[in-house]
Subunit: 126 residues, 4 copies
Amino acid sequence: MIVLDYSDTRPIYEQIVDKFQTYILKGVLKPDTQLMSVRNLAMELSINPNTIQKAYAELERQGFIYTIKGRGNFVRYDRRLLEIKKRELIEKIKDILAEAEELNISKEELLSEAGQKATEGDLGND
Amino acid sequence: MIVLDYSDTRPIYEQIVDKFQTYILKGVLKPDTQLMSVRNLAMELSINPNTIQKAYAELERQGFIYTIKGRGNFVRYDRRLLEIKKRELIEKIKDILAEAEELNISKEELLSEAGQKATEGDLGND
Amino acid sequence: MIVLDYSDTRPIYEQIVDKFQTYILKGVLKPDTQLMSVRNLAMELSINPNTIQKAYAELERQGFIYTIKGRGNFVRYDRRLLEIKKRELIEKIKDILAEAEELNISKEELLSEAGQKATEGDLGND
Amino acid sequence: MIVLDYSDTRPIYEQIVDKFQTYILKGVLKPDTQLMSVRNLAMELSINPNTIQKAYAELERQGFIYTIKGRGNFVRYDRRLLEIKKRELIEKIKDILAEAEELNISKEELLSEAGQKATEGDLGND
DNA sequence: GTGGTCTAGACCACA
DNA sequence: GTGGTCTAGACCACA
């Protein structure tokens, strides 16, 4: 379910946070489902438990999961999370457009090229 | 001309690289203009010369400047650099759109909201 | 495994880069093998960790290794690297031949003399 | 007659040494011809006189020119210089072949590819 | 433990 | 003066 990409420059814990965010937002992980324990997931991914711990802590901070001491971590689905995520994505695009504008790159051209390619399905992740 | 943001999580040398990239791409720094010397810029920014050295080395590697030992660093403007930058921005937007798609967020809505806000000018932080 | 030559005019970090390139291309270092840590190699060679850091960063940039923060550096073998190296060697020979041509030195004679001697095995310094 | 290439990574004085070596070996500069004065050549090339000084000193050390104090620098052509140059070029090729051998790159293939391309006249200098 | 950044300061080649 | 390398050592994020 979780596959790490070591050629990705992002830290491992961040990749894990991202994966869980997506699964929760998409509904693949249903509300109140229990997540794998820190120890088990660490073993499965062959990484340091501290890394999973850090990822779960971050997910809890963001409101994606809740922790019950001694029992484990559970999905806390909240419709507002999707809205927040959407806002984030919009902000990111705005930042990119602002940068383009500063370099006198046509915003329309940029968006149309990005949109076209995106639709064609070659949305590679570097 | 260069202002460091210590609250920025990015390393100092990277901020410097970014600033010069922008100035060169925008044409604020004309081709063959000499950059401030490593030592002088370090003094002006109150940071260590090694940090400037690292930034300049990176800029040279990326083709934004050329270095003549014993003389200094000079702007090497190359139209292709702007094209490369544009490609990068497009890729970034594509990645964001891909993420949106995975979460079933409407691409059109995303782009229109980002575009509108961007036009209204409430973008820049930095 | 790595021996520094202080009489060599090339910088230390470059010698280290070269050695690793060769070991990786020859297959002495297998893909996904972990390299010695920055600190340990620095201690073994009695040089500063920053110098190893610089060498490893360059190797990563060139695609010979990949780095996982907090874990270490690993060999990323890629058949294309050998092809690139071959191209480089060919280019160097071409440059030499061009220089010979300009001085009206017979190319054939040059190559045959170089080839003979090379076969006789009186080549290696280093 | 002398054109500096700032995109060349070699130091300026070395480029100058190379140019003079070639002109002298080719006979473009005849024996006992006087070279431009340090000061004049420096002005013509818009570089520091120290640089010309260093280049001339190196040429004298190698036996390509001789200096008469108060009068100037003069070409000292010596047939043996061409032979020495040839030896140098052979040594360089031998080193490259040795490197190729270590990487199990076929020497014959390398030489034939370098030779072919060289003959076709696309002997670019990087 | 492991890599990445940064400082303070020295020394060298080159111009 | 100008860039390039290197040391000694600190501090941080990540695993």
